[in-house]
């Protein structure tokens, strides 16, 4: 699989007088994990929002060479550009299974033949949907019994995992992850790292917004650092994280290893 090349070109976003994003560009090769770092409020989430079509932006977004610049958000998602949320969307009255099934049918949503075909549907689709949901939960190391649990009963960390599962239900070509590790326990983070690498290995392109440096170091091939909406720097992970401007703006002094931002000595890799 070599699909999933995401190219972002000169994206700018402003809210009223506030320029939240100023001409940010990135080329992300298929199957790679690209990190997006920056201080709070530097525009990382806004960049994801612009890429997936939630906020109006200028600049270009292309997936596999096809321009999505003018496409509405759901069309972008339909063409394989999926995302998770920094604070997962609370849908208190759905169960996990329902939420996952919401994520299930991104390609080819056709209300018309749906309406005409209504009475002909059988339970097979439902069954297979359930199977998929189970498989996806399993992939993320979540228990199958979770399917029946209402979203409102989930703890924050599990909720983040379920949100990722929802995005995975759609077989993303490109997956935009917004701080997936926040709120997760260290065990889950370790597992998450494995999943990210596994996804990348299978050809999914990932754009990862993170504050958890060990995770970034472990999974990202390249990173882009934003500051005040501008692209501060960009390059191979290890290289960028030692650049002085990055240390100053984002990491804080003595950040490279001396502050235990997360458990350091974890066994690398996952599965």
């Amino acid at each position: 699989m070599t699909q999933g090349a995401l190219s972002i070109d000169g994206l700018s976003v402003h809210f009223g007088g506030l320029q939240a994003l100023r001409g940010v560009s990135a080329e992300i090769t298929p199957g790679s994990v690209h990190g997006l770092l920056g201080p709070n409020g530097s525009g990382k989430t806004t960049l994801l929002n612009a890429v997936c079509g939630f906020v109006r932006s200028t600049g270009r977004v292309c997936l596999d060479g096809v321009s999505l610049t003018r496409a509405p958000a759901y069309v972008r998602a339909r063409s394989g550009l999926l995302r998770t949320f920094q604070s997962p969307k609370l849908v208190p009255d759905l169960t996990v299974e329902e939420l996952l099934r919401v994520g299930e049918h991104p390609r080819g949503f056709r209300p018309w033949w749906l309406v005409t075909a209504l009475p002909l549907r059988d339970s097979r689709a439902r069954k297979s949907g359930q199977q998929r949901a189970l498989a996806t939960l399993d992939l993320l190391g979540l228990d199958g019994s979770l399917l029946a649990v209402p979203i409102r009963d989930l703890s924050q960390g599990v909720l983040k995992m379920v949100d990722i599962a929802r995005a995975l239900m759609a077989d993303p070509k490109v997956l935009l992850l917004d701080e997936p590790s926040s709120g997760m326990s260290e065990a889950e983070i370790a597992r998450l790292r494995g999943h990210i690498l596994e996804l990348a290995r299978r050809g999914t392109t990932l754009l990862l917004v993170e504050h958890n440096l060990p995770l970034v170091r472990a999974v990202c091939d390249r990173v882009t650092v934003l500051n005040l909406g501008e692209q501060l720097t960009s390059g191979p992970t290890a290289d960028v994280l030692t650049r002085p401007e990055v240390v100053e703006a984002f990491l804080g002094v003595g950040a490279d290893g001396s502050v235990p931002n997360a458990v350091q000595e974890q066994p690398g890799g996952g599965p």
């Binding site: 809210f15 989430t45 929002n49 939630f54 906020v55 949320f85």
Partner: protein
């Protein structure tokens, strides 16, 4: 020209009163996110209470004030009995419950006072002063003055104070404001009581020109609700502006467009305004925030 002015004047006076009802809607909404469709019937109740006190020989002003206070009490009772259990249910439940309360109120009024129209003397005369072709009644003037005065009072009371902030916080995240020591139940209760008082004042002001019958509550509620939405739910001055707008457009439409479609025209304008400003004229306070 005088015609236009006259239209504006009468629209303005009625509009301020609608604004008061709308203010009640907004106040309740900005604390509890409930739209209290019993507002109109509370207005009617105040008028009936005042009527009875008048019959007992109380002076007009005293009767009116006590009537309004009584309405506040009833609003409080209704909140405690019927609405308190519902805040945490889906929004439509509480709203429909207020509709139920409106029906109950109207039915009770009908049982107590009968369905024959009564006449409540207005607090000021309705025979007009003529100002160069313009007819203005003392009642209109007093509607305007009282309406504005009360709006100012409400603004001062809750616009910039601690409890005003607590109310807005409460509407958006009732669970979290208790963490700062806000007594949410008390806040809901007082907002309903104040809403009832505002409705009461509106009732006392406008019902003398409408005639006192048990059934006008629904109409007042719809007008007040429209005004509140138009001005932006939860916004104090928005409610007043919405009320004035509803009053003025209704009149202008009836005179210059078509009397039979006047109310339709008002709704059309409201729809257009809402399409342009989806949260009403001043209503971005509570809801307009980023969603992702």
């Amino acid at each position: 020209m005088t015609l236009l002015l006259q239209t504006l004047v009468s629209g303005l006076a009625a509009g301020v009163v609608y604004g008061l009802i709308a203010l009640g809607f907004s106040l309740v909404y900005r604390t509890s996110r409930v739209i209290n469709f019993a507002q109109g019937d509370l207005a009617v109740l105040a008028a009936y209470l005042a009527y009875t006190l008048r019959q007992l020989g109380w002076p007009v002003i005293v009767a009116c004030v006590v009537g309004v206070l009584g309405t506040g009490v009833v609003a409080g009772i209704l909140e405690r009995l019927a609405l308190r259990p519902l805040y945490r249910r889906p929004g439509a439940v509480a709203i429909l419950c207020t509709v139920g309360l409106a029906i109950v109120l109207e039915a009770c009024i009908r049982l107590i006072w009968g369905s024959l129209p009564l006449s409540l003397p207005s607090i000021a005369s309705t025979s007009p002063w003529h100002l160069g072709g313009l007819a203005i009644t003392p009642l209109q003037v007093s509607m305007f003055v009282v309406g504005l005065a009360i709006a100012v009072m409400v603004t001062l009371l809750i616009g910039r104070t601690r409890s005003g902030r607590a109310m807005r916080g409460c509407a958006q995240d009732p669970e979290v404001v208790v963490l700062f020591g806000v007594n949410v139940d008390a806040l809901y209760f007082s907002s309903f009581v104040i809403g009832g008082l505002l409705a009461g004042v509106a009732g006392i002001l406008i019902i003398p020109t409408l005639g006192l019958t048990p059934d006008i509550g629904l109409n007042l509620s719809v007008l007040g609700f429209s005004a509140a939405v138009l001005g932006g739910l939860g916004s104090i001055w928005g409610a007043l502006a919405g009320g004035v707008l509803v009053g003025v457009i209704t009149n202008v439409a009836a005179v210059y467009v078509s009397s039979s479609y006047a109310s339709g025209f008002v709704y059309l304008i409201m729809a257009v305004i809402l399409l342009v400003r989806v949260r009403g004229l001043f209503g971005d306070e509570i809801e307009a925030v980023r969603e992702v």
